[in-house]
């Protein structure tokens, strides 16, 4: 039931990729996305695919699971491909029927565009599969820190995200419990029209809201009791620190970008 929902998609592990600093992974993913958009020719795409495959293997995640993360966006990938196939401009016509025209260029473009999307999704799934939501938030906070000067409330944003993430499983559990309790009292959540269904949800929603407010209140008191005053002068329990593995990762991603640049502007 509801308890079976995993939050985000963190898959615990101990691989090199898991051990990387979250900032390395976030920046690395961004840089790699830029590299994806530098690709123009076949060699470039083959190289990118090989690199993504290598990263997935290095993360020791079940490969099938990583690819399954494409499923929610499969429709968009297929649509992109189809649009390029049938609408693409080009000289070498392969097939023509009324307003539909498939050209060699359109075909190539369709494959390239959907491949870009696939690579983009795969690499960002590796990021969320190998980084727990809390660590990810820490990384984002640390990366946003320089923008504090122009008024970005980095710490507050990160704290809000952390609290929200922290309470999602709790509230899911609570919802599950209330649904079970009301089911045991004969509540029916499946039959009736839309209005009826919405009304049937009230016995779940009201206790859920009450408990969410109660928890928020308790949390606020607990934080104040421990003298929480916002981010000013706050130290952390787990300091983020770059290690030599992160340096190696950055060197690697810069090399990848350099190779992509060479392939783009000085093709073989």
């Amino acid at each position: 039931m509801l308890a079976d929902i995993t939050l985000g998609q963190y898959y615990p592990g101990n691989s090199v990729i898991h051990q990387l600093d979250p900032r390395t992974k976030i920046l690395g993913t961004l840089l790699f996305i830029i590299a994806i958009f530098m690709a123009t020719n076949t060699v470039g795409y083959v190289f990118l695919c090989a690199f993504v495959m290598a990263v997935i293997l290095a993360s020791r995640l079940p490969v099938g699971m990583v690819f399954r993360s494409l499923k929610p966006l499969a429709f968009i990938i297929v649509l992109t491909m189809a649009l390029h196939f049938f609408m693409g401009e080009g000289e070498q016509v392969l097939f023509e029927w009324q307003f539909l025209r498939i050209t060699r260029e359109g075909l190539a473009m369709g494959v390239k565009m959907s491949l870009r999307l696939v690579l983009l999704l795969l690499i960002s799934s590796v990021l969320t599969f190998t980084t727990s939501p809390i660590v990810l938030t820490d990384g984002i906070e640390s990366l946003l820190n320089p923008f504090k000067r122009i008024g970005v409330p980095a710490h507050e944003l990160a704290m809000m995200m952390t609290i929200a993430l922290r309470f999602i499983p709790t509230l899911i559990e609570e919802t599950d419990r209330i649904i079970k309790a009301q089911t045991a009292r004969g509540a029916d959540f499946t039959s009736g029209n839309l209005l009826q269904k919405a009304k049937n949800m009230l016995p779940v929603l009201i206790p859920l809201f009450i408990s969410a407010f109660r928890r928020a209140d308790e949390l606020a008191v607990a934080m104040e009791a421990r003298c929480y005053r916002g981010g000013e002068g706050r130290t952390r329990m787990h300091e983020l620190a770059y290690t030599h593995v992160d340096v190696a990762a950055f060197v690697l991603i810069v090399i990848v970008m350099a190779i992509m640049a060479v392939l783009r502007w000085w093709p073989l």
Binding site: T6, I178, K180, A181, G186, A187, P203, I206, S211
Partner: protein, 285 residues
């Protein structure tokens, strides 16, 4: 007239890295008229087990029968059978939602399809059972009541459905001793008046010894022991220790007194019995 589990296995989040087996090969029969206490350390599978008894959880393997109806089958009676089993969850006051005490208690009976007169009758009886005056409380908002009173409302909400089997998951958690006593007094009255089956999940060995006539000990997702309080608490001390449980304080006290030379009879379990025995030995009345 019984609930039967046959070789039930249950695994949470099957097929994910968080997979956890909560029950393995659990078989048992609970008959009407029994008062069963389910004890076990935290995470031993108690709550998971009782949620199988009314079909809230479906076993990963094995079968559940309520009065010989297979809950996984296609029998049209399944829904009616599930409604014979009432369940009071931990902290049941957190599931209260209605504007008045009456409306909240009436939720279950209405879902069961009773007529308005029947509903009112059941609400009156249930409130009476938990010791709340109908005229004073029926029209009040449940959210203005104290914690102990809210719990009584929640328990009344389940009792009003006239269950043949009543599951109580730690009904006394977080209550003061007076409120605990009051709740159990009502439960015993209900048990004796309606001859239903009570399944009580508890961490308190004293409650188990005092109220139940059968005890199930769960350990590491299996049934470790199943017997009367006398058998379990007087003869299986070592097993209980290994399951991170203990014998009731009354039994420990009797043991100390006997070692100290007081000639108390064997087999004393409950507080009233111990008090009576000490009075008798010392010639007090």
């Amino acid at each position: 007239m019984s609930i039967r589990l046959e070789h039930v296995d249950f695994t949470y989040m099957q097929g994910t890295p968080y997979e956890k087996q909560a029950l393995s090969d659990v078989s048992l029969t609970i008959n009407k008229g029994e008062f069963v206490a389910v004890i076990g350390h935290t995470g031993s599978g108690k709550s998971t087990m009782v949620q199988h008894l009314n079909g809230l959880l479906r076993p990963s393997k094995g079968k559940v029968f309520i009065e010989d109806v297979d809950l996984a089958g296609k029998d049209p009676q399944i829904k009616a059978c599930k409604q014979k089993v009432g369940m009071v969850f931990q902290y049941p006051e957190h599931q209260i939602f209605a504007e008045t005490v009456f409306e909240d208690i009436a939720f279950g009976p209405r879902n069961k399809g009773m007529s308005e007169e029947e509903v009112e009758q059941q609400v009156r009886e249930a409130m009476n059972f938990v010791g709340m005056d109908y005229a004073t409380y029926a029209k009040r908002s449940p959210f203005q009541l104290s914690g102990g009173q809210m719990r009584r409302v929640a328990i009344a909400g389940v009792i009003a459905m006239k269950p043949d089997y009543l599951i109580l998951d730690e009904p006394s958690a977080g209550l003061d001793p007076g409120a605990k006593e009051a709740i159990f007094e009502r439960i015993m009255k209900l048990y004796q008046a309606r001859k239903i089956a009570i399944i009580l999940v508890t961490h308190s060995m004293e409650e188990a010894a005092r109220y139940a006539n059968r005890i199930l000990v769960l350990s590491k997702s299996r049934i470790l022991l199943d017997g009367t309080p006398g058998e379990i608490f007087l003869h299986h001390r070592e097993e209980l220790r290994q399951a991170s449980l203990d014998i009731p304080q009354t039994v420990q006290l009797v043991e100390l007194l006997r070692r100290g030379g007081l000639k108390l009879p064997e087999g004393l379990l409950t507080e009233p019995a111990v008090v009576a025995a000490i009075k008798k030995v010392r010639g007090l009345h």
